[in-house]
């Protein structure tokens, strides 16, 4: 087995887009395109190993050196405070992290808020910077329900088109920041596999913006 790169990819929509980009730059793995429940793939030709992992775990695999490089949303990096190199913006998976709530909720007048979110760290940091005090309620999904059943005043969540919010009678009250997928590397791998990691970086920069989203 060649000592190639170990690449962590997120399962799901973002993972598919990342695979397409990797194929475009000559780092694809044909076996991954087949429908299967396999999570680890090996590319004989280049000697690279690919892992399919939960999107929120990609940065962890890279930080702890189980993977040399990975593709991950900026939201995950900021939430986990991952200690990895964030080498390039892939220009895919573009959306926003926003504060959302019911249309008539007096958000700007409130000094204290109950916030439901899957991003407790991002939320805490953001509201600290605005001077509001908050109670953070950590949830794992279907966040939009929280204000409707009075579990929270507002939510902090990813907004892509805003359609889900609209269907649940919610609206964006404030945008926190824009996010997109990033190419990341383990800090030690960056030294020992520098040539290959930088080569992929260069190729990614070239294809970025060529209608990847």
């Amino acid at each position: 087995m060649k000592d190639g790169l170990r690449i962590a990819l997120p399962k799901g929509r973002l993972g598919k887009k990342a695979c397409d980009i990797l194929s475009k730059i000559g780092y694809g793995c044909d076996e991954m395109l087949k429908e299967s429940r396999k999570l680890v793939f090996y590319d004989q030709e280049k000697g690279n190993t690919y892992f399919l992992v939960k999107p929120s775990d990609v940065a962890t695999y890279v930080e702890y050196g189980a993977a040399d490089i990975g593709f991950v949303g900026r939201d995950i990096l900021l939430e986990n405070r991952s200690d990895v190199f964030e080498l390039c913006d892939l220009g895919i998976g573009k959306c926003r992290i926003c504060v959302a709530g019911e249309r008539d909720f007096p958000y700007h007048e409130k000094k204290h808020l109950k916030v439901a979110t899957i991003f407790p760290n991002i939320s805490r940091d953001f509201f600290l910077s605005t001077g509001k005090t908050v109670d953070i309620i950590s949830l794992h999904g279907s966040i939009e329900i929280a204000p409707l059943v009075k579990l929270s005043d507002v939510i902090v969540d990813i907004v892509e088109t805003g359609a889900t919010l609209k269907e649940n009678n919610l609206t964006v009250l404030e945008e926190i920041f824009a996010i997109s997928a990033r190419y990341i590397a383990n800090k030690v791998s960056y030294t020992y596999k520098n040539r290959e990691i930088c080569k992929i970086h260069e190729l990614l920069e070239k294809v970025r913006g060529e209608g990847n989203d």
Binding site: G65, K187, V188, Y190
Partner: protein, 307 residues
């Protein structure tokens, strides 16, 4: 008689490091396990972990189990001596990010403090590079000049933004760097220079050549000459460790005021050695001491199942 098999691997490594330090004229430093809790509170900004394990002593004094060694060494320094070349092998008590709970961590470290020549400071970096060879035959020492980044930020009018810029450098994030610099209307030329510094990852001699090309000679002359002298010193020592210039490592820009460095070895996912020059921490009204030191995290190597 010394029988290697009677000791754990970590203890053997610690002995090898002691022998190395001793051969370079450093002497073993022993200290108490406790310090007054108030001492660490006064110096909280200099601690990497803000969590401190404390207890009430029998006389009512709040005491702490050492979370850090360097601060204790500085506090208890014999000021009658002009130069201190010390090494230690001590337990510290910290709550690592991975566990959340407090743990006893064996730390090996080296410090040089006092009226120092450049050669004293270079010798410590040489010792750091040489120490890595105890663990692996392909180590790399990554060196950064934090004062250079600081100067560059001041030149670009960004001194108040240390934390965000620091974060961009630590993560080699050109995106974050650009975001901060654009928000603050930094000059395009300064933006380009900071971006070049952030991306730099070259063997020390080639890195210095690159710096000479991208930086204004006058402002950074002292920094570049210092790096050149370091490079020459290391070359003269016939060192087998690769030394790279890489500005992604200015952890604690406020703590390490000139050079800082980290040591990595293959198969361990994060740095096993960290250090740098921290002269600002030991400067007093009476004495303009210089200081530099590094720590090796033996526990970390064991944790990763590398050894």
């Amino acid at each position: 008689m010394f029988k290697k098999e009677l000791f754990t691997h970590k203890e053997v490594l610690s002995f090898e490091l002691r022998a190395l330090c001793s051969s370079q004229g450093y002497s073993l430093y022993k200290m108490n396990a406790f310090e007054p809790y108030s001492f660490y509170l006064e110096n909280i900004d200099s601690l990497s972990s803000k969590n401190i394990l404390y207890f009430t002593d029998r006389d009512g004094t709040l005491m702490a189990l050492k979370p850090d060694i360097t601060l204790s060494i500085i506090k208890n320094l014999d000021t009658a001596k002009e130069k201190h070349k010390l090494y230690y092998s001590e337990n510290v008590y910290r709550a690592p990010k991975t566990s959340g709970n407090f743990r006893e961590i064996l730390q090996f470290g080296v410090e040089v403090i006092g009226r120092l020549s450049d050669e004293d400071l270079f010798n410590l970096i040489f010792l750091a590079a040489k120490s890595l060879l105890v663990f692996d035959d392909m180590p790399v020492l990554l060196v950064s000049d934090n004062s250079m980044i600081q100067k560059m930020m001041e030149k670009a009018g960004l001194s108040k933004l240390n934390d965000r810029i620091l974060n961009a450098f630590q993560n080699k994030s050109l995106m974050l760097l650009k975001e901060v610099l654009t928000d603050n209307h930094a000059d395009q030329k300064d933006q380009d220079i900071l971006a070049s510094l952030l991306s730099l990852h070259l063997p020390l001699d080639r890195g210095i050549e690159k710096l000479e090309k991208i930086l204004d000679g006058e402002t950074f002359r002292e920094n570049i000459e210092y790096l050149k002298d370091l490079n020459q010193y290391l070359k003269n020592q016939d060192l087998n460790t690769q030394v790279f210039l890489d500005f992604s490592i200015p952890e604690g820009l406020k703590y390490y005021d000139r050079l800082s460095f980290v040591g990595v070895i293959p198969g361990v996912s994060s740095a096993i050695l960290r250090g740098g020059e921290y002269s600002n921490l030991v400067k007093t009204k009476e004495k303009s001491y210089l200081a530099s030191g590094f720590a090796i995290y033996l526990e970390k190597i064991g944790d990763q199942g590398r050894l």
